[in-house]
């Protein structure tokens, strides 16, 4: 399906970000086309979250460029942010709001019409079995419920690109399965997904492309077949980790 769409949804060129002396991301380049689910894997502290936050415009980087659907995040962050959705590794949401108020707040900021937001909220809340809890304060939600709410909030404005940091953490197996379906649906409609994960089996089954990062450097990237060949992704990942030690 992805072959139907052309161009670059996300283009990262020579991204470098340092924290003091330490290079968190070192000259990283990759691009994601519409219709692609792109997995980003690496060990803890490899630079995944820094890359994702730079893409979303939360973190300023030292050098390189990031464009989203042809627009630079540095030159026009508002336009870029209106096309994307971000789910962080830990869903720290506004605990003083109810789930519904939070979703309405996000929908207001993205200027989603009353009709569209009603349809989408009802649809995704039903899918994740959260409908009865939407009028409760977020402070009463479990970690998994907050994660589901963050996912609904990300999907509410029909984004072109969804950036997710460890999206499956905290989700029950059914919700994780549903999320995978939703991710594929976004891509089938011309959107793109860029997400980090430690669950290599999920990445292997779900992703069209994958990038492996180590100590801030991209050590391998490409289609799943190009990266893993006949081996499992886990074997390739561990082998690359060994090689680069």
């Amino acid at each position: 399906m992805k072959l139907l769409f052309g161009g670059n949804m996300l283009n990262i060129q020579h991204l470098t970000k340092t924290y003091g002396e330490k290079k968190a991301v070192d000259d990283l380049s990759l691009h994601i086309a519409p219709g692609e689910i792109y997995g980003f894997i690496g060990h803890n502290g490899a630079g995944k979250t820094t890359t994702l936050k730079s893409v979303v415009g939360i973190l300023r980087f030292d050098s390189g460029s990031i464009t989203i659907d042809g627009t630079s995040i540095q030159d026009d962050p508002i336009s870029c942010k209106s096309k994307i959705a971000y789910i962080p590794d830990n869903p720290d949401l506004y605990e003083f709001m109810t789930g519904l108020k939070y979703l309405n707040f996000i929908a207001d900021v993205f200027k989603v019409s009353k009709e569209d937001r009603e349809v989408r909220i009802k649809k995704y809340a039903d899918i994740f079995e959260l409908s009865n809890d939407l009028t409760q304060p977020i402070a009463s939600y479990s970690h998994g419920m907050k994660q589901k709410l963050a996912i609904i909030a990300a999907w509410i404005h029909n984004p072109k690109l969804i950036i997710m940091d460890e999206p499956f953490v905290g989700l029950d197996p059914k919700a994780a399965h549903l999320l995978k379906g939703m991710m594929r649906e976004v891509c089938d409609n011309g959107g793109a997904i860029f997400f980090s994960t430690h669950v290599l089996e999920v990445a292997e089954k779900l992703c069209d492309k994958v990038a492996i990062i180590k100590a801030g450097k991209l050590i391998r990237s490409g289609t799943m077949e190009e990266v893993k060949g006949d081996d499992s992704l886990e074997d390739v990942f561990l082998e690359l980790e060994e090689e680069n030690n």
Partner: protein, 530 residues
Amino acid sequence: MVKVLLGKQFAEIFRSYLYDAKKNKARSKLSTTLYFVFFAVLLVGVIGGMFTFLSITMCSPLSTAGMGWLYFAIMGILAILFGAFGSVFNTFSGLYLAKDNDLLLSMPIPVPVIMTSRLLGVYLMGLMYSSMVALPAVIVYLAVCRFSFATLVCGILFVFLISIIDLELSCVLGWVVAKISQKLKNKSFITVILSLAFFGLYYFFCFKAQTVITDLIMNVSTYGMAVKGKAYPVYLFGMMGEGDWIATLICYAVFGALFTLMWVVISRSFIKIVTTNTGSKTKGTKASFEGRSVQAALFSKELARFTSSANYMLNCGFGTLFIVVAFVAILLKGGTLASMISQMFGSTGAALIILLGGICCIACMNDMATPSISLEGRSIWILQSLPVSPYMVLAAKLKVQIVLTLVPVVLCLFAIAATVPCNAIQFILGGAFAMLNVNLMALFGIFLGLKMPNLTWTSELIPIKQSFSVMIALIGGFLFNAAFVGLYFLVGRKVGEVIYLCLAILVTAVLGFVLNSWLKNKGSRIFAEL
């Protein structure tokens, strides 16, 4: 273990004194020392000085009349009230709402140790405040009336007993608030109402204090005998300061027993209250999907944050209530007050300037914009990742403070117009100054909030109440308005009220413009990079 936990708590309270968020590193020893010296000068010099003066006024007359115990009873009660003012609202948040309660409970730390460390924080805060009253009272007595081993030791024990009483009061109120919070909807507002009732009583007492003290000194023997006869525990409490060992023993035994009782009650309910989900489930309301503009959504979010927390409303929104009180007071007594001021200074314009300065000083008590940046905490990623400019976010934070302050200030301005003699030009200029002043204070508050952010707090009290930025915002506001009144008497009277108000408007507008420009550029960049 208690030491470790207490160290963690104090590191958090005094974080802005020890750590420079801008440079992301620890402050130099000199810088930290200067911060602490400033804090000490403010507490000991200003507040301690005020109570030293009161002690000097009362100590000698009462002691000479053989009523030294009454002096200690009065100062002790004042110290208890002042200490409670400083610590009473810490208990609920500090003990039950700390974000790291779950983490600490999951570690091999006995519950009493966690409680002790939390309560020690509350205790030390109460001790700090109550000592500013009790310590001058004891020192003045030792210096002016009688110095002996007994008065020295019992005096010190008197100071510590007051801090224990404060802890007990704080714990009782904290426990009651926690119990209410478990059961009720709109608990923030209920907590605010309860707290306001407490404050009302407190300020009523303070308001009446001067009259009562004067009356007391005039009729010391009559009141002394009455208190001794009808409120013997108060007599015993006062006798402690005079070096009475038996009274000291009895007071410590009684309050020690009360403390044990309080400890048992709190220990029994601690885990239950802490582990009860704070966002308790409520009856579902009808779902609404109505849309709003981006600005309205951001404003509404900020307002919801403010009204969701009793601590936030009480500590940063007190000005709104006080301005309404001032409005009623000006309506009732404005004319009398204006003629008194006019007679005192021989000019009708002085009343307008003093009342304007007074209202603006009260308005400074509203400082909700200052901690609003830090209160974003770990959810700051939401605003940073949304397609809104940082300035729009900051403007929404400003707007909450401006709206909640400006509405009652405008009411006050009309009350001034109705009661204080001034012409239309003076009124318009005065009104313009007050409004620009409210705008400036909100801008100043958010400037400080951006300069000294703390996004890693574990209790919201830290950014709301215990941060350096909040203290500077309050003091800075008071000083600015004190300067407005002071400069009037130095130069304003010579140039006339109209020209003076024009100059004040110009200064306030320029400062506001500079801060707003900073916020649009540098401030927005800082927010985006937090």
